[in-house]
Amino acid sequence: MKRFVMLLVSVLLLAGLTFSVTTIEFWHAMSGQRVPLIEDMVKDFEELHPDIKVNIQFTGSYPETISKLIAAVQSKNAPHVVQIYEIGTRIMIDSGVIIPAQEMLDKDPSFDIGVLLDPIVNYYTVDGKLYSMPFNSSTALLYYNKTLFKEAGLDPNKPPKTYDEFLEYCRILTKKDSSGKTVQYGFTWPTHAWVFEQMLAVADAPFVNNNNGRTGRATEAVFNNEAGIKIFKLLDQLNKEGLIINTTHEDWSAARQNFISGKAAMLITSTSDVQLFEEGLKSNNYELGTAFLPVPDVSISGGPVVGGASLWLIKGHPDNEIQAAWELMKFINNEEQQIKWHKGTGYYPVRKDAVETLHYELFYAENPNYFTSLLQLLLAKRNYNTAGAVIGVFQEAREIIENAYDKMVAGQMTPEKALEWAENEVTKLIKDYNKFYQ
C-alpha cells in the first residue's frame, strides 16, 4: 500500500512538472443565448492551450460586473480578464488596477493593431493609448418591420432618413381601432440615454467638452446643443401625438417584445440584436428591415458611436498568469472567434480580416441586415464626436438624461428646459468626479 501511494505521488509530481497548469479567471456580462457562445470560445481556447485553465464566470449585468470587480479588487481577489462596458472606460483608466492593452501590444510582435476596425480602436484609445482589447462592439441601428410598412402603403425599401421623414412614417404606421385605442405604434425604444448619445453623434455633435474628453479630462457636459434639442423635440413630438411606446428605463427586452410582436413598427436598439430579430420576426411572419439612424437634416452626417464592451487586463497577478490572460484576450479577438460571435449575435466582428472572410463567404450578400449595421459604422465620419465621450460618471449621466426625458414626456418641462436641466446636472457630476483626480 505504502509503495502504491509513493508511486502515485511521484507520478502526480511528474505530471505536474510536465503540464503545469496556469489558471486564470475570466468574468463576463453576457447573458441569455450569448452564454453558450462565449463558453464555447473559452473551451476552444483551452483545447488549443492545454496548459491554461480558464474559470469563466457570468457576473451579472455590466454595472453589476463593475461593482463586483471593485469588491474583488478591494479584497485582493481580482480576476485576470474582465469584460467592462464601453462607458466604464474612464473609471477603469482612473482605477490604477489595470494593465493597458497597449503595454502588452508593444511587447507582442504577433499582433498588429492595424487589423482592428478603426472606429473601434478609436473608441478604446484615450490619450493615444489603447487601453483594452475590443471584444463585443455594437452601435444603435434602426430596425423596421417591412411587412407593416407594406400594409401601411409605405415602400419597404425606403426607410426614413431624416427626422421629418421619421415622424411622418410614425404617423402613417400608428393605427387605432374603432374605440380609439392604439393597436399599433410607429416606434418603440428601450428608453435608454444611449440612444440619445448615438443620435447626437449621428448628428455630429459633442456630448462633453475637451473633444468629448479625448484630448483632456472633460469638465463640462455640452449636449444641450442644437442637435441635442432637435432629438428631444422629435421625441417630444412622438409622445405628444401618441406614436411611441416607452418602456421602463433601459429595458431592452420590453422594447424587443414590442417590436417582435408587431406592436411597434420601428425600433432603435443595439446592432447586437440582429440575429434575435431575424428569427423573432420570421416566427411572426414579418420581414425585418434595417436602416441607418435618422439625421436631423440630409446636410448633416456624423456617425454612430461604438458601444458594447471590451476586455480589460487586471494587474497584480504573476507574470505567467498575465501572459495566459493576454493569450485569452488575443484568442477571443481572433478572426475565427469573431466571425462566430458576429453570426451568433450581431455584434460587429472587430477585425478587418473577419469582415473580408465573411464577404468572400457571401455572408453579407445573403444577410443584408448584418451588412447595414456594419456599413453604418464603416461609413461614419471619423472625428471626436463619433469617437464617443469619455467620462467617469456615465452611468449616472444616463439616468439624468432619462429622467429629463420622463419630465418632458410628463409635460413638466419643455424639451429645451429638460435638456438644459440635464446638462447642468451632468456637469455637476463631472466636476464632483474630477475632484478625485486633480
Partner: protein, 290 residues
C-alpha cells in the same frame, strides 16, 4: 466536566467572531465611509465631514426618495393591516373548503419579492397584459401602468400589498383562533352586534399582533421593497418609485458613489434605531396582552 469562570466566554467566541466580522465591522466602516468622498475603486478618499449628509438633505432627489418612502410605507402598511384583518375574519369562518381558500390566499407569501414583481410586470404590460385587457374590455380604458405617473407607484404598492398580505393574514388568523369562546359568547349575551364584536372586542384583543405586524411590515416596506421596484419600474418614471433603499442601491452599485451611499445607510440605520426604540418603549405599555 467543570465549568470554569471563563467557559461561557470561550463558548461565545465563535459567534462573536462571526458577528464582528459580518455585522459590526461593516457597520463601523460604513459609519467611517460616510464622512468621506470615495473614488469608484476606493483608492482615493477625501475627508468631507458631514458634507455627504448635508448634500443628501439638500438634494431634491433624496428628499423625493424620502417622500416616496413615506407614502409607500403609509399606504402599504395600513392596507396590509386592514385588509389582512378583514380577510382573516372571513377565513376564520367554518365554511366548506375553507382550507382550500386559505392555501390559495397564502401562496403569495411563498413567492419571493422578485418573482412577485415579475408576475405583476407581465399582468401590467400595457399592450399584452391581462389588466389592461380587462379594463379595456369592460370599461374601455387602459393605462401605461409602469411607465407613467402616478400609476407606477400605485402598481408597485399594489404588488407589495399583494405580496405582504398573507403574512398578516396568517398572524391574524392564528390570533383569532386563539380568542377564547367565552369572550365571544359573553359578548353575544351582552347584546353586542357583529360590527361591535369585530372592532371593539376582537381587534383590541389582537392588539399585540397588530403592533408586531406594523413593525414587521414597516421593515418589510423599507428594505424588501427593493426587489419589486427593481423588477417593475427601476425607480422610474422620474424617480416616482425610487424609495430610500433603491436610491442607496443605485448610488452604491450603479454609480459607485460609496461615500454618499454609506451616508444613506447611516440614515436608514438611525431610522431603524428609532423604530426599534418605539417598539420596546411603547410596545410593552400601550398594547393589551391577555
Amino acid at each position: 466536566m467543570k465549568w470554569g469562570k471563563y467557559t461561557p466566554y470561550i463558548l461565545l467566541i465563535p459567534t462573536l467572531v462571526i458577528i464582528i466580522l459580518f455585522i459590526y465591522w461593516p457597520a463601523v466602516s460604513s459609519f467611517m465611509l460616510s464622512f468621506y468622498k470615495v473614488s469608484p475603486f476606493g483608492d482615493i478618499k477625501i475627508f468631507v465631514g458631514f458634507d455627504n449628509f448635508l448634500n443628501l438633505f439638500k438634494s431634491k432627489t433624496y428628499l423625493n426618495a424620502i417622500k416616496v418612502t413615506v407614502i409607500y410605507i403609509l399606504v402599504t402598511v395600513f392596507s396590509v393591516i386592514f385588509l389582512g384583518y378583514l380577510i382573516a375574519l372571513l377565513l376564520d369562518n367554518k365554511v366548506f373548503g375553507v382550507k382550500f381558500y386559505r392555501t390559495l390566499i397564502f401562496t403569495p407569501y411563498a413567492i419571493s419579492f422578485t418573482i412577485a414583481g415579475a408576475l405583476w410586470t407581465f399582468m401590467l404590460n400595457p399592450v399584452a397584459g391581462h389588466i389592461n385587457y380587462f379594463l379595456n374590455r369592460f370599461f374601455g380604458i387602459s393605462a401605461n401602468w409602469l411607465t407613467s405617473q402616478p400609476f407606477a407607484l400605485i402598481s408597485v404598492m399594489v404588488t407589495s400589498i399583494w405580496k405582504m398580505l398573507p403574512f398578516s393574514i396568517i398572524f391574524y388568523l392564528a390570533g383569532l383562533q386563539s380568542i377564547p369562546e367565552e369572550v365571544i359568547e359573553s359578548s353575544i349575551i351582552d347584546g353586542a352586534n357583529n360590527w361591535q364584536r369585530i372592532w371593539k372586542i376582537k381587534f383590541p384583543i389582537l392588539s399585540p399582533t397588530t403592533f408586531y405586524l406594523i413593525i414587521m411590515e414597516i421593515t418589510h416596506a423599507m428594505f424588501d421593497s427593493f426587489g419589486i421596484i427593481d423588477i417593475m419600474t427601476r425607480g422610474g418614471p422620474v424617480e416616482s418609485t425610487t424609495t430610500m433603499i433603491y436610491r442607496l442601491y443605485l448610488d452604491s452599485f450603479y454609480f459607485q458613489k460609496t461615500g454618499e451611499a454609506a451616508a444613506q445607510s447611516v440614515i436608514l440605520f438611525i431610522i431603524m434605531c428609532f423604530i426599534t426604540f418605539f417598539y420596546f418603549k411603547f410596545g410593552e405599555k400601550s398594547v393589551h396582552y391577555q
